[in-house]
C-alpha cells in the first residue's frame, strides 16, 4: 500500500491530536483531579499511537505508548498527577511535536527520546522524584500488568469497557451458540453482529471477527458489548434470529469485568448469570465512542473541538479555493455580459433566466467567501501552552483568558497573524505582568491575568491583548526615546500619551539592552507593527500606570475582498478602499487655497491638503483645473486627512483584491488591482501612500 497518500492526512490529524493533547493537559493542570480530562487525553494519545504505528513511525508510537502507560495509571486513580508528571508529559508532547514536524519536512520522524521514555517508565514504576504518593503508584504497576496480560482484552479494550461502566453504559458479555444443523455459520454470526452493531458497539469478540467470517469457530462465540439496551431485550432479539440455539447475555460491572479479563473465563462461558447486575444509570449519551468523548468533554467544560469530536469538515488546500474564486469571478463577469445582452434583446424568458443566474452567482460568491473564513481559534489555541511555559520560566503565575476564539477571519490573515500575536503575548507576560512579589506589594492578586480577545466590528476584526500588570511608564519611554534620538525635545513636549506609547513600536526600541532599561517593553515591536501593517492592519496601545496595558490590533476581515468606492478619472477607473474614505464631496475652484506652497481646501474647521489623482497617476485625459466644481474624496491615514480630486463617482462595490503580478515593482499609491464587472482591470488606490 502506498502510504504517501495518507501522509498528509496523518500529519493533519496528528497535529490535531497534539493540539488537543496540549489543550487538555493545560485544562488538567488546572483541575488535576478531573479524570474526565485524563480520559480525553488518553484517547487522543491512543489514537495517535495507532496512527503512528499504522504509518510505521515506530519512535512516535512507542513514545505515545509510554505516555499512555502513565495516563492509564492516572485515570484508574492509581497515580496522582503532580508537577513532575506534568512536566514530563509536556516534554513528551514537545518531542512528539518535533517528530511530527520532522515527518512534515519529509523526515522519518525518528528522534532520541530515551531520556523521556526513561522518565515515563520511572513514573509508571512509581519512582516519582519529590515525594510521590508511592503507596498508590507502587500498587499501580502490577494492576496495569494484570490488565495487559488478560487473556481476552488488551489494555485499551479493557479501559474502554471500564470507562463505559463508569459513565453508566451497559457493558455486556454475550455468548452466542448457533444451532448444530446450521449450514452457514458465518452468515448467522454475521446477522448477530449486524444486529448488535445497530444498538451498540462490539468491543472484542472471541474468536476474532475475521476468524468468524472464515467460519473458524465451532458453534459458539463470545463478545464484549457496550449498549443502552436491556440485557433481556437483547437476548430475545438474538435468539429470535433464525438458527440461533442460545444466547447468554450477562451485564458486567467493574468487578466482574476485572475477573473476566484476568482469566476467569470459564465461569462466564458456563453462563453463570449470577454476576451482579450492572448498576447502569440511564443516560442520554449514545454508546458510540465519539459521542462519549463529546459528552466527556462537555462534562469537563473543554471545548468540543478536539480530535475526538465528530468531524463534519474536510480540509481544502487554500490554493484550490483561490482557483475556485478566480473561476467564480470569471463567471460573474460573464454574468454581467449576459445581463447586458438580455437587456438589449428584451426577451422575458431570457431576462428571467439571467436574473436567476445572477442570484445563484451571488449565493455562490457568498459561499466561496465563507469557505475562506476560519475561526481565530486555530491561532489562539496554541497560546495557552506558550503562556504557561513563559510564565513558568519567569516564575510568574498567569491566567490567560481567551474570549471570542470563534471569531472568523480570512485564512490568509490567520496564517500571518500568529507571529505578531506571539510577540505581543510574550511581551505581556514577560514585561506587562510584574513579578509576583511586586504584585503582592502593590496589593494585586498574586496571579496576573492576560486577556486575549477577538471580536468583529464592522469590516474589521479586533484582537486585544490586555494585561493587569504595571502599565507603561510614559516618562521612562520618553527619556529613552530622547536619548536614542528618536524624538526631539520639542516634539517630546507636545506628545500625547498615545503617541508616547507608540514609540515602543519605533525601530530604535528593539535592541536587547534597551529592554531592561525601560520597563522592558520593546522586544521587536517594530517588527510586530510592520507585520500588522503589511496585513493592512493597525496596532495601538493604551495603558494606565499601575493598572495594566492593552494592545489593540485591528485587522481587515479578509485580505482578498474589501468594500471600495469605484471612481472615474478620465477614461480610467480606480477603486478606493472604503476603510480609508472619510467622506465624499464637491468643492468649488475658488475654495482652493495655497498655504506654504501646498494646495489646501477647507474641510470642517480646518484646511486639508488637496491632491489630484490625475496628477499623481499621470492620467492624460482629465484635468480638474478646467472644472468649476470638482468631486473630492476625503481620505484618512490615522489622524491625518487629505482630499483627492477625481472626476466622478461610479459607486460602491465589493471588490476582490488581486496583486499586479510578480514582474511589476511596487507602484507607489497602488495597492493592487481588481477585476470589474465588465472584465476590465481597475487599480486599487492606496491612499496611505499619499499622506505623509
Amino acid at each position: 500500500m502506498d502510504m504517501n497518500q495518507y501522509l498528509s492526512m496523518f500529519i493533519d490529524e496528528s497535529n490535531d491530536h497534539l493540539q488537543s493533547l496540549n489543550e487538555n493537559m493545560l485544562e488538567l493542570e488546572k483541575a488535576p483531579d478531573d479524570i474526565g480530562i485524563v480520559q480525553i487525553i488518553f484517547r487522543s494519545a491512543h489514537t495517535l499511537k495507532g496512527m503512528a504505528a499504522t504509518m510505521g513511525f515506530e519512535d512516535l508510537s512507542s513514545l505515545t505508548h509510554q505516555m499512555e502507560n502513565v495516563l492509564d495509571l492516572v485515570r484508574n486513580e492509581k497515580l496522582k498527577m503532580q508537577d513532575y508528571i506534568f512536566d514530563t508529559l509536556f516534554k513528551s508532547l514537545d518531542a512528539l511535536q518535533m517528530m511530527v514536524q520532522d515527518i512534515m519536512n519529509g523526515g522519518d520522524g525518528k528522534a532520541d527520546v530515551q531520556s523521556i521514555v526513561t522518565s515515563l517508565q520511572a513514573i509508571v514504576r512509581g519512582e516519582v522524584p519529590g515525594g510521590a504518593d508511592s503507596a498508590a503508584s507502587s500498587q499501580a504497576a502490577p494492576a496495569a500488568e494484570t490488565a495487559s496480560t488478560g487473556i481476552q482484552l488488551d489494555e485499551f479494550q479493557y479501559s474502554v469497557l471500564e470507562q463505559s461502566i463508569t459513565e453508566g453504559h451497559k457493558v455486556l458479555y454475550i455468548e452466542v451458540a448457533i444451532r448444530e444443523d446450521c449450514q452457514l455459520k458465518a452468515a448467522r454470526a454475521y446477522l448477530v453482529f449486524d444486529l448488535l452493531e445497530r444498538y451498540g458497539e462490539v468491543v472484542k469478540s472471541h474468536p476474532s471477527v475475521q476468524e468468524i467470517e472464515q467460519e473458524k469457530f465451532e458453534r459458539s462465540f463470545s463478545l464484549y458489548y457496550i449498549t443502552q439496551k436491556d440485557a433481556a431485550e437483547l437476548q430475545s432479539m438474538i435468539v429470535n434470529l433464525s438458527e440461533i440455539e442460545s444466547a447468554q447475555v450477562m451485564p458486567l460491572d467493574h468487578e466482574t469485568l476485572n475477573q473476566l479479563s484476568s482469566g476467569v473465563q470459564e465461569a462466564a462461558a458456563a453462563g453463570t448469570a449470577e454476576a451482579p447486575a450492572a448498576a447502569a444509570a440511564p443516560t442520554d449519551a449514545k454508546p458510540e465512542a465519539p459521542q462519549t468523548a463529546a459528552k466527556a468533554e462537555a462534562k469537563t467544560g473543554a471545548r468540543a473541538n478536539g480530535g475526538a469530536a465528530p468531524s463534519r469538515t474536510i480540509r481544502v488546500d487554500i490554493e484550490r479555493l483561490d482557483v475556485l474564486m478566480n473561476l467564480l469571478s470569471e463567471l460573474l463577469i460573464d454574468r454581467s455580459r449576459l445581463e447586458q445582452l438580455a437587456y438589449e434583446i428584451k426577451r422575458s424568458d431570457l431576462t428571467e433566466t439571467v436574473e436567476h443566474m445572477s442570484r445563484v452567482g451571488s449565493d455562490l460568491q457568498n459561499i466561496v467567501l465563507k469557505l475562506r473564513m476560519v475561526p481565530i481559534d486555530t491561532v489562539f489555541s496554541r497560546f495557552p501552552r506558550m503562556v504557561r511555559d513563559v510564565a513558568k520560566s519567569l516564575d510568574k503565575k498567569i491566567d490567560l483568558v481567551i474570549v471570542g476564539a470563534e471569531t472568523e477571519l480570512d485564512r490568509t490573515v490567520i496564517d500571518e497573524i500568529g507571529d505578531p500575536l506571539v510577540h505581543l503575548l510574550r511581551n505581556a507576560v514577560d514585561h506587562g505582568i510584574e513579578p509576583t512579589a511586586q504584585r503582592i506589594a502593590a496589593g494585586k492578586p498574586e496571579t496576573g491575568t492576560v486577556q486575549l480577545r477577538a471580536f468583529h466590528s464592522g469590516n474589521h476584526v479586533f484582537i486585544e491583548i490586555e494585561d493587569d500588570g504595571g502599565g507603561i511608564d510614559r516618562d521612562k519611554i520618553l527619556n529613552k526615546a530622547l536619548k536614542n534620538g528618536i524624538v526631539t525635545q520639542s516634539e517630546a513636549a507636545t506628545m500625547s500619551d498615545e503617541q508616547v506609547y507608540m514609540l515602543l513600536f519605533a525601530a530604535g526600541f528593539s535592541t536587547a539592552d534597551v529592554i531592561s532599561d525601560i520597563s522592558g517593553r520593546g522586544v521587536g515591536l517594530d517588527v510586530v507593527r510592520s507585520k500588522i501593517e503589511s496585513l493592512s492592519g493597525d496596532v495601538s496601545v493604551t495603558s494606565t500606570l499601575g493598572k495594566g496595558t492593552k494592545f489593540s490590533v485591528q485587522l481587515p476581515l479578509t485580505l482578498s475582498i474589501i468594500s471600495a468606492m469605484l471612481i472615474k478619472v478620465g477614461s480610467e477607473k480606480y477603486a478606493i478602499p472604503l476603510s480609508s474614505i472619510v467622506e465624499t464631496g464637491i468643492i468649488q475652484r475658488n475654495q482652493i487655497r495655497s498655504v506654504h506652497g501646498y494646495t489646501m481646501v477647507p474641510y470642517r474647521d480646518a484646511h486639508i491638503p488637496l491632491m489630484s489623482l490625475a496628477n499623481l497617476f499621470e492620467v492624460a485625459d482629465f484635468d480638474e483645473n478646467v472644472e468649476e466644481e470638482t468631486e473630492i474624496v476625503v481620505i484618512r491615514k490615522g489622524e491625518r486627512l487629505a482630499a483627492l480630486t477625481i472626476e466622478d463617482f461610479i459607486g460602491q462595490s465589493e471588490i476582490v483584491i488581486k496583486n499586479l503580478g510578480k514582474y511589476l515593482p511596487p507602484v507607489q499609491g497602488v495597492a493592487g488591482a481588481t477585476i470589474l464587472g465588465d472584465g476590465q482591470v481597475a487599480l486599487i488606490v492606496d491612499p496611505n501612500a499619499f499622506i505623509k
Binding site: 478566480n326 480610467e572 503580478g661 514582474y663 482591470v681
Partner: protein, 153 residues
C-alpha cells in the same frame, strides 16, 4: 544531433523571433489593457486573463524598436518564467516550428552590445530565414531593464 525543440514563432517588424513552447502559456488576441502609472515605459499595463491580473510588455518598446499601432494581427503571448507571468505584445504570432538545437548558433557579433544579452541564439532555418531565439529570463530581468534604460537615456 542536439535536442528537438518546439518553438512559437512571432514577428516584430520584419524580424522573426522564437520562444520555446514550454515557456508559453497561451497566445491571446489584443484585449483592453489597464494602464499602471509610474512604471517602465514599455510596460503597457495589466490585463485580466481569466481572473488573473497579468502585466503586459510591449516587446517592441522593450527592444528599443519604434512602437506601432496595434492591429488585428497583434497578439499577446503569455509566458511564465521564474514564477513570473508576463504578457508580450508582438506584431503577430502564427507559427509553431520544430527545431534541432544544432541549428541554433550563438548570437552573432553584429547584434552586439546589450541587446545580445536578450538572445539565446539565432536559428538558421533556411538561407534567408533566421529565427532569433529569446533568452526569456534576461528579457524579464528587471535590474537589467534599469541598466538598459540608463544607457538609452
Amino acid at each position: 544531433m542536439g535536442e528537438e525543440l518546439k518553438v512559437i514563432v512571432f514577428k516584430l517588424g520584419e524580424e522573426e523571433y522564437g520562444i520555446e513552447v514550454d515557456k508559453v502559456q497561451t497566445i491571446e488576441r489584443m484585449m483592453p489593457i489597464t494602464r499602471v502609472p509610474k512604471t517602465y515605459s514599455f510596460v503597457k499595463g495589466v490585463i485580466n486573463l481569466r481572473g488573473v491580473v497579468i502585466p503586459v510588455i510591449d516587446l517592441r518598446g522593450r527592444f528599443g524598436l519604434p512602437e506601432t499601432e496595434y492591429t488585428d494581427q497583434t497578439r499577446i503571448i503569455i509566458v511564465a518564467v521564474n514564477e513570473m507571468e508576463v504578457g508580450f505584445i508582438v506584431d503577430s504570432a502564427n507559427d509553431v516550428m520544430d527545431l534541432n538545437s544544432d541549428v541554433i548558433d550563438s548570437p552573432p557579433d553584429v547584434v552586439g552590445g546589450i541587446k545580445a544579452k536578450y538572445l539565446h541564439g539565432v536559428a538558421r532555418i533556411s538561407e534567408e530565414r533566421l529565427l532569433v531565439m529569446l533568452n526569456l529570463s534576461e528579457v524579464l530581468n528587471r535590474s537589467e531593464i534599469i541598466q538598459l534604460e540608463s544607457l538609452e537615456d
